[in-house]
Amino acid sequence: MEELKQEIKLLIMEVLGITDVEPDEVGNDDALFAEGNVMGLDSIDALEIVMALQEKYGVRIDDKNQSRFILKSITTISEFISKNRKN
């Protein structure tokens, strides 16, 4: 699971072009969309992350109400991926 968490962090940074943050600076349980998060994410980034996760792991997150909970933190994303991944 730790490996997957690291992979997800790197994927998010790559897709969003975040180059000024080290993966270790992002805590696995940090609220990704909270004010003050080191990556400074917004709702457009959320959509981009959803599409990247779909492409890499074959998981669908169609509904915004669902994505609110899945994209809460690196931990919640990794739990969702492990349960639902197709790739």
Binding site: M51, D62, D63, K64
Partner: protein, 336 residues
């Protein structure tokens, strides 16, 4: 908390979610996508009018039609009332709750103060289910909330009797008759035929796939209608909001429609419907690319003619795909 056995469920869209929940509570187990699909909820319309400050578009049928079309096609019946007098509206609601009847209410979303402030905006067509009273407060099931919530009397009254367009006027409804046996085959195909017809056969140039095509053409002219770049950027970013953020289930209800077709395929043992479900899911994925593209160029204020032409061609490509899709779906419905 005793909530009369009411089972709260989250849903993608407030109207289809509320209808699904209140029917399920009354004994008719029906999923949100099935409610949406049978009612022929999927649609497209592009509107430019002096009545609107800026062109706008819709991706579903009119508010209320999810309930009325579902009732017409399944035989379920709802008791419905609006009120000129708020005091009467409150008495009616309290009376029903006292009899243990959960009641769906139309509200102004802004007053749903159990939800985070940043999501609450004035929209008069938000539906919730009021489950019971709790002293001066009410226990409500709002499909955007992860659990049952509590709202104070004043906020609920303000929400039910807010003014403005689509004013709720205390509108409430609840099931009063459920058919013993629903002919799902008939209801599903009626819903499919009606939605497909609306998408490809309406003569008006602003409705259905013609509306998508008009949107594709007109979006390149939006700079002429906007006050300045800031305004244009705001309107372009609203494309993403309308497709993804307003309880659409993603991609302007296309994903929810795909789920409906998949469930219909399982229920009717019809593999053709599964194929159609996969096709509209893929079209939905490409609508989502439009959402992201619009959000990005809007955010970066990258709104030159080339970018808007690019956006227009992406939208035009969806029109072409949906035209083929809904023509095929209409043809399939005629074979059944």
């Amino acid at each position: 908390m005793n909530t009369l056995g009411f089972k709260h469920a989250m849903a993608a869209h407030c109207e289809s979610g509320t209808v699904s929940s209140i029917l399920s509570h009354a004994g008719l187990q029906i999923s949100e996508p099935m409610v949406f699909g049978i009612s022929g909820g999927i649609f497209f319309g592009y509107f430019e009018s002096k009545k609107f400050p800026f062109p706008t578009f819709v991706v579903r049928n009119r508010p209320g039609q999810i309930r009325t079309n579902l009732a017409k096609r399944t035989g379920a019946k709802f008791a419905e009332r609006r009120f000129g007098d708020p005091a009467k509206g409150e008495r009616e609601l309290n009376g029903l709750l006292a009899r243990g009847v959960p009641v769906a209410c139309q509200t102004d979303f802004f007053y749903m103060n159990y939800l985070p402030n940043h999501v609450r905006v004035h929209i008069n067509v938000h539906f919730i289910i009021v489950v019971k009273r709790n002293g001066d407060n009410y226990i409500v099931s709002d499909c955007y909330s992860p659990s049952l919530s509590e709202i104070d009397r004043d906020s609920l009254m303000k929400a039910r009797f807010a003014g403005g367009s689509f004013a709720p006027r205390g509108f409430l409804f609840y099931p009063k008759f459920l058919p013993g046996n629903i002919d799902y085959e008939k209801s599903i195909w009626k819903g499919i035929r009606s939605a497909s017809f609306m998408m490809v056969k309406l003569p008006m140039p602003f409705l259905g796939v013609k509306g998508i095509r008009l949107f594709a053409k007109k979006v390149t002219d939006w700079p002429k209608l906007a006050r300045d770049t800031e305004h244009l950027s705001h309107e372009i970013m609203k494309i993403n909001i309308f497709l993804e953020d307003q309880g659409t289930g993603g991609a302007g209800f296309r994903f929810m429609y795909a789920t409906f077709l998949r469930e219909a395929s399982e229920l009717l043992n019809d593999p053709d419907l599964l194929g159609m479900s996969k096709r509209i899911m893929e079209i939905g994925d490409r609508w989502r690319e439009i959402s992201l593209f619009a959000a990005r160029i809007g955010k970066r204020r990258d709104l030159g003619p080339d970018r808007l032409r690019e956006l227009g061609s992406m939208i035009a490509a969806r029109a072409d795909e949906e035209e083929i899709f809904f023509r095929d779906l209409l043809a399939l419905s005629k074979e059944r």
